[in-house]
Amino acid sequence: MRKFFAVVKHEYRKVVLRWSFILGTLLMPAMALVFAFVPLLIFSFRGEPAKIAVYDPDGKIAARLEAYFAHKPANKLDHPNAGRAIPMVSGQQISTPPAVIESDFTLVRFTTATAEPEAVRQELLTRIRAKEFDAYLIIPQNPTAPDACFEFRSRRGGDFTLSDVLLNGLNQAVQSQRLADARIDESELRQLTAPVRFDAKGLDESGAEKDSGGVFAASFLIALMIYLMLAIYGQTILGAVVEEKETRIAEILFSSTRPLVLMFGKLVGVGLAGLTQLSIWVGSALSLVAIAAQQADFRPLLKSVPTITPAMVLLFLSFFLLGYFLYGSIFALIGSAVTSPQEGGQLSFPPTVLMLIGFYFSFAVIRDPNSSLAFWASIAPFFAPITMPVRILAETPPFWQIALSIVVNLLAILAMVWIAARIYRVGMLIYGKRATIREIWKWLRHS
């Protein structure tokens, strides 16, 4: 037993003191932060607002357009510029108070002496070329006519949101103008045609409400995390076994203690390192959520985070460990049968595919956690370690199913470790060439 703990300690230290482990452990939370906040940051950087000249000989639509953007409630929150005094464009053509500032643009009313459309257009183009404006909007003579065409030209052709927002505003402005022309009370109509409110939420087993979007994201995250951890730590074991075989350290180790002690010690040591990393990640994620909960701005966001109980965390870790020992013993087996890390990489394809299938099954589980496919996928060995945590999160199955899954996977681990240990103790001492399947079968039967 003392030797077993010596192996565990050695393997644990070897993984944990590695730079890649320390970096990975610290960088993962940092990267999660980057992924969460950088997009917000980037979108908060806005360019100079586009200056749009609005030519409206009639003046009605422009006024409504300005009113529309001025009253749009979102403006107040999103855009510090909202309501600010309008910058005056020098020159006699500018009327007061002409401009309204939207998120990305400023509307500036443009008037000119001539009424000849082509002359107006030419003048606008000249000014745009002079960078006085970024875009122009020409409102036709009879804007409420069904065939009226609004002309918008912009130097910022790629800014689709700009033209979208403008189009919305124009539609609203023209509509309300038409209503006014038809002498229909706009506010009354608004009330009558107000859209219904639709409140859609998922229900869990007990009938409590939950946000399905949040559950989906969290389930995906859990599945991805377990899959990645299994792959990373499987490779760690493979590397450690190949190193001992390649450098012939195995010979000294085997002369000191039994191969099973060594193999199991290695699995436990590397597994504890994985658990350490996972705990740090889960811990930092939980504290991040806790910190975010203090911030009023984040509360609506957090409402969609599904509740995760300590029991759930315990189950997730248990299933990670089940998967880890199952796949870890396969990787130890592979490591003992090959002669170099490269060969090990080639042979680790089958277990990796197995993991990947488990990962894909988790999508089926997220979509319908009570289907028979979800049931079998969360019981079957090799898949359950990834799919069962997802199922628990999406819709906790009856306890007997969880217990059955644990028992089935424990049995699979026993069988796998037994097979791996028999192959390991022969394979580690065979040098020179990669073992064939037939040789491995022979070792399994005769050792």
């Binding site: 030797k3 010596a6 300690k9 190193e243 350290i249 000294i252 000191s256």
Partner: protein, 315 residues
């Protein structure tokens, strides 16, 4: 070491056989290793040396026969009393020297505090104290060899098994290691020493075992083996009286070298009789020396002999 350990053999191998499928790696091999002696385990490549050693350290088990260490059947517990340097050396490249030694010590059941003391002692003795915290891959090959040696002796083994221990060492370090081994011998430990270098074996070994093609060929103390191989050659320098060598019924053949000649005697001939004949015949003798066969000669005769002379196979 208790006094009865000096009487009882440290290693007792009885009729062990090991097969790998059709191939017989070791066949019906028996021998004993005594404490306080250096035991040379010799044989050409593929003779079954490594397989035998692996069985002695408990890595594999014989198909039949038994191995006793210190009077007990080999068990995992007894592994703690063996120090082993395999032919193919292995250290963790990225590990610090001290961590490496701590781990190997712990695997032999050494407590942390005791290991710490002995690591410092041995690193000091090997002149590697400054390298304690260095990464193993930064050490030269010779230094790594020494670390490997420390790993094998850290737990004070009663039986030390060394497979080609001097490969990769410079002559100064070879002398140094030989001193350490001699010291182990005086401490009544048993040392099994496998090598291809016959000169080294001849210098170091008290007993030898030569195996070839999975079987024992020669066994015994170095002295016995050498004398059993006969002393039928004489190195001679001087001016022999005309015809004595040619006429003598004792002489089979004379091989001349630049400065001296080698006289091969007939089977059963007494070199003393020849010496008397030469003196009586008036020869001027500067050198007359009975040549013992070197271990190298014995090795070649025994191993080579099997190939081209079946009658010698029983030796």
């Amino acid at each position: 070491m208790s006094s009865d350990a000096a009487k009882n053999p440290s290693v007792e191998v009885r009729n062990i056989t090991k097969r790998f499928g059709e191939f017989v790696a070791v066949e019906d091999l028996s021998f004993q290793v005594s404490p306080g002696r250096i035991f040379g385990f010799l044989g050409p490549n593929g003779a079954g040396k490594t397989t035998t050693i692996r069985m002695m350290v408990g890595i594999t088990a014989p198909d039949s026969g038994e191995i006793r260490l210190f009077g007990e059947l080999l068990s995992p517990k007894l592994q703690d009393r063996i120090g082993y340097i395999p032919e193919e050396r292995g250290l963790y490249k990225k590990l610090k020297v001290v961590d490496q030694l701590r781990y190997f010590g712990a695997l032999k059941g050494l407590s942390t505090a005791e290991a710490e003391k002995r690591i410092d002692f041995w690193l000091g003795r090997m002149g590697l104290a400054d390298w304690k915290r260095a990464k193993t891959s930064d050490l030269s090959k010779g230094m790594q060899q020494k670390i490997q040696f420390i790993a094998a002796v850290l737990h004070d083994p009663d039986l030390l098994i060394l497979d080609e221990p001097f490969s990769g060492l410079d002559p100064i370090n070879v002398e140094f290691m030989i001193d350490v081994l001699a010291e182990f011998r005086t401490q009544s430990r048993a040392i099994i020493f496998s090598t291809h270098l016959m000169e080294t074996a001849e210098r170091l070994c008290d007993d030898i075992l030569l195996i070839n093609r999975s079987r024992k060929v020669i066994a015994g103390s170095l002295r016995e083996v050498k004398s059993s191989y006969g002393t039928n050659r004489v190195a001679f320098r001087g001016r022999p009286a005309d015809g004595i060598l040619k006429m003598s019924p004792l002489v089979a053949k004379v091989v001349s070298f630049a400065d001296e000649m080698e006289i091969h005697l007939n089977e059963g001939a007494d070199p003393n009789v020849l010496l008397r004949d030469l003196v009586n015949g008036g020869a001027e003798i500067q050198k007359f020396e009975v040549i013992e066969p070197s271990l190298n000669d014995i090795f070649i005769a025994a191993v080579g002999g099997i190939d081209d002379d079946p009658s010698r196979a029983g030796r």
